[in-house]
Every structure is written in C-alpha cells, then in structure tokens.
Amino acid sequence: MAIGIKKVARPRKMSFPEALYLVEIVKGLGVTMRHILGNIVRQEGIKTIEYPEVRRVMPPRFRGRHRLMKRQNGAPRCVACFCCPTACPAKCITIVAGESPDPAVEKYPVRFDIDMLRCVFCGLCVEACPVDAIRMDTGWFTPPDDTREKLIFTIETLLEK
C-alpha cells in the first residue's frame, strides 16, 4: 500500500468578533439558560435515574449476580458436578459435594460458595451447567458490602433470588 498524506483540517482562524469572545460567551449563556429553563418547566429532559427507587431495566442477556435454581420441592437443582468451577476462569466457585438425603438425586452441593469479589461475570459457569442450575439473570449487580467474607455468597444466599 502506498503511503499517502492525509490533510487534516486545521482549526479555523477565528474572526475578530469571535476572538473577542463576548458575543460567543453570551451565546453560550443562552444555551445554558435554555436548558435550565426547559428543565425547570418540564422535567422530561432530565436524564437522571433516581437509583434506589427507580432501576434501569437491564437487557435480557445482561450477566448479573448469580442465582441457583430450585427443584419443585425447594431443594437446589444443582447436582454438584463441578462443571462450573472447572469452567470458571477466576476460580471463584467452591463446591463441596455430598450424598443427598433424596435418593433420587444422589449428589447435591453441601456447600456452594461464589466469591463475588473474584468473579469476572463471564457467564461460563452458566454455559457449563448441564442441569441449568445456575443462572445470571437476576438483572442486578453484586450489592456492596463492608467485609470480604460477606461477599462470598453461600448456597443459601444464591438460592434466595
């Protein structure tokens, strides 16, 4: 490819009234005054979402905080197959499997912890799950907290939503 020279438009030299700034400043003040008056009269122009009361609607494929699905009897759907911790690039999922009290289920997670501080929200755990037990469709972020321990979500927390 031949090397060409592209002319980049230089800033236009200002005319004298523009260089004086006075008119331009008044024009600018007009713009801001238009906004302020418009916003006082009609509130529709205001883009702010008043957070705790109003929440942004997340797109359907948004990957948010995880939740664990339940069976019809309320037990976790997860069978502790370890596919999600295997797929997890951040190594944030810790599962301890055990013999389920329900003989039809056999294997269930005694512990299922997600370290939300390590999670990178890639969604690979959801893809890896063979029984659709873990989803990231809560449509919301990890709420802030004041200790690291509280942000290691246990199975109880994850089953709530």
Binding site: G28, H35, I46, E50
Partner: protein, 365 residues
C-alpha cells in the same frame, strides 16, 4: 447619652443585617450552584436531604453539609506549620466580610428623627478600602499553600496567588474610569451620581458610561475569585484540590465560605459600581419621574423599599451570573490565564483610562 446608645444600636443592627444577608446568600448560593449546575446539565441535582420527609428541592443540603463539616475530625497534618496552617482559613473569610462595610444598601433614611445611612461605614476612600481589604485574601491562599507542608498545596497556592496578584492590577486600573466619571472614591457618592440621567432619558449607570471598564472589571473579578473560567488553583490531575488539599472539617468549610463570600461581595460591588447600586431608574425621592415629564408620586417608605430591593435583586443576579458562567465556559490553560491578564486586560484598562480622560477633557469637565 441616648444619642450614643442610638448610634451603637444602629451600628450593631446594620452589621447584623448585612452579615446575615451575606451568609444567607452564601447558603442559598451553594444550593443554587449545585441545583443550577444540575439543571444546566440535564440532571436532577441535590434532592435527598430531608427534614421529616420534606425535601424542599434539596435546599437542606447546605444545612447537612454544614453539620457534616462541623462533626468531621479537625486535624492538622504532621508537616504543617501550625500557626500559618490555622491562620489561613481566617484570612480567607475575614477580609471579605470586612469589605462589605462600605457598600451602601440604600439612601439615608430618617429613623426617630435622626438620619441614618444604610451603610456600615461611609468611608471617603471606599473603593480603595475594598481593594485593600480584599487584597488580603491572597494571604489566606499563600499561607495555606505554604503552611500545609505538602507539595500540592504549595504549587496550588503559588499558582493561585500569582493569578490573584496579576488580576488585582487590571481590576484596580479598570475602575479608574469610574472614579474619573463620578469624581469620588466614596461609594455613596458614586451611587448617588448614578441616579442622574444622561441625555435626559438614559440612567447614568456605570455600565453605560464605562462599558469597557465593566467588562474588564467583571473578568478580573472572576479571576480574582478563582472561578471558572479561571479556576486554576484546583486541578485534580495536577495538584489535587490546590492550596486547601490538606484542609478538612470546619477549616475547609471556611475556605469554601470565603470563596462564596468573595463572590457575593463581588456581585454587590458590581451592582454598586456599574448598575446604580440602590438606584432604580427614574425613581426620585418622591416617586417616579419619567423622562417625558410625567410623574408617579410614591410614599417615602415604598421608595426606600424599592431601592433596597433593587440592590438586593441586582446582587442576586450577579451571584447567579457566577454560577451561570461557570457551567457555560470551559476553563483556560494557565498560560492563557496569564496572557489574558497581562497582555490583554492590563493594556485595555490603560487605554480605557486614557479614553475616559480624553472624553472628559473634550466635554470640558
């Protein structure tokens, strides 16, 4: 005896009224700045602080801020020079408050048969006094920058004081025209002079006789108050919060208040010098006297109310102008600030003096 007592009471009352006016305006001003900025930027602005569920469009936020400032830890950094560090916030507030003393808020009134000036002190060097006193605020900046014992405040303080001193020069020179036109430094005389009419119909306001002086003065004043587009002392990426980086709690709030007071007083001075002070166009002591010869007589008390109301409204507009300009114009680079101060404003103010002198000479005064 009663005469002395009366004078003392009147003096104290005037001081109390003017101070509460200034501080009240500061409180409203901080709210107006945040709310105004929000509305200009299509945001909602402060609207959360409430008293018993009553939010009042966020007007309680300044109150909440003040409370928070009061209860924050009042620390002094290890490296700070304690005396300078403590003095600096006082220098930021006190001189500004002092300068309001010479501003007239209305014509003389008669109370209990005695004439009382609506002005704390009617000095014959009025405007020079304002310059002298407000010039001291630069000490606040310098002391804070030096006394904090930290490099960012030092750089911020240096920058800020250099800027304030540079603009002090053109600010002073831009007013010389006003003195020449009204032939006095006494503010009450200047205001009284602005009550006259030019060519029989045009109020002889400062802005009319000294348009260039007005533009130069207000520009210099914005730079003097460290307001956008000249808010160089602060710059998060360069020198954090500038000279008050190391301040917290009530000391920081004093800097904050000093800055806002500076603007309030600036607004009052602009209104006084260039917009007729307490004068209302065509309003004489007895009532309106229109240029055509028609007149509307008004009772004296109404006239006084109109006049004090007029300076109040004018001040309010110019404080608002500070906010308005801040959210309209982007800031200058530091070298641009200095160039504007020394190479544009200073020569122009000198030209203004010569032009004014020439006109006055030609008019034969």
């Amino acid at each position: 005896m009663t005469a002395v007592l009366f004078l003392v009471v009147v003096a104290l009352a005037r001081i109390a009224i003017v101070f509460s006016f200034c501080f009240g305006l500061v409180v409203v001003f901080t709210w107006a700045e945040r709310k105004g900025a929000a509305y200009i930027q299509d945001r909602r602005g402060p609207n959360r602080a409430d008293i018993l569920g009553f939010r009042a469009w966020g007007m309680f936020h300044p109150l909440a801020d003040a409370l928070k400032f009061l209860f924050k830890e009042d620390f002094i950094p290890d490296n700070a020079q304690r005396l300078f560090y403590q003095l600096a916030p006082m220098f930021a507030v006190a001189p500004v408050l002092m300068s309001i003393a010479v501003v007239p808020f209305g014509p003389d009134v008669t109370i209990f048969g005695r004439r009382v000036a609506l002005q704390i002190a009617d000095l014959n060097v009025g405007i020079l006094y304002i310059f002298a006193v407000t010039g001291m605020t630069v000490y606040g900046v310098v002391l804070a920058g030096w006394g904090s014992g930290s490099k960012y405040p030092l750089l911020g303080g240096l920058r800020s004081s250099a800027q304030m001193l540079s603009y002090e020069v053109s600010m002073g020179l831009s007013l010389v025209g006003i003195f020449m036109v009204f032939e006095s430094l006494r503010l009450s005389r200047i205001v009284a002079g602005q009550g006259e009419l030019l060519f029989g119909f045009l109020p002889k306001w400062g802005v009319v006789v000294q348009p260039l002086g007005f533009i130069l003065f207000i520009t210099a004043q914005y730079a003097e108050a460290n307001r956008t587009p000249f808010d160089l002392p602060e710059g998060e990426s360069e020198l954090v919060a500038g000279y008050h980086s190391e301040y917290a709690s009530f000391k920081f709030s004093m800097f904050m208040m000093g800055e806002y007071l500076h603007m309030v007083i600036g607004a009052v001075v602009v209104a006084t010098l260039f917009f007729g002070g307490w004068q209302v166009p065509f309003l004489a002591d007895t009532g309106f006297v229109l240029p055509g010869g028609a007149s509307v007589p008004l009772p004296e008390i109404l006239v006084i109310a109109l006049r004090t109301g007029s300076i109040f409204l004018k001040s309010l507009f110019f404080t608002w102008l500070y906010v308005w300009v801040r959210w309209t114009i982007p800031r200058f680079r530091y070298d641009q600030v200095m160039r504007l101060g020394w190479k544009v404003l200073l020569p122009l103010s000198l030209v203004n003096i010569f032009a004014t002198g020439l006109v006055l000479l030609l008019l034969g005064k």
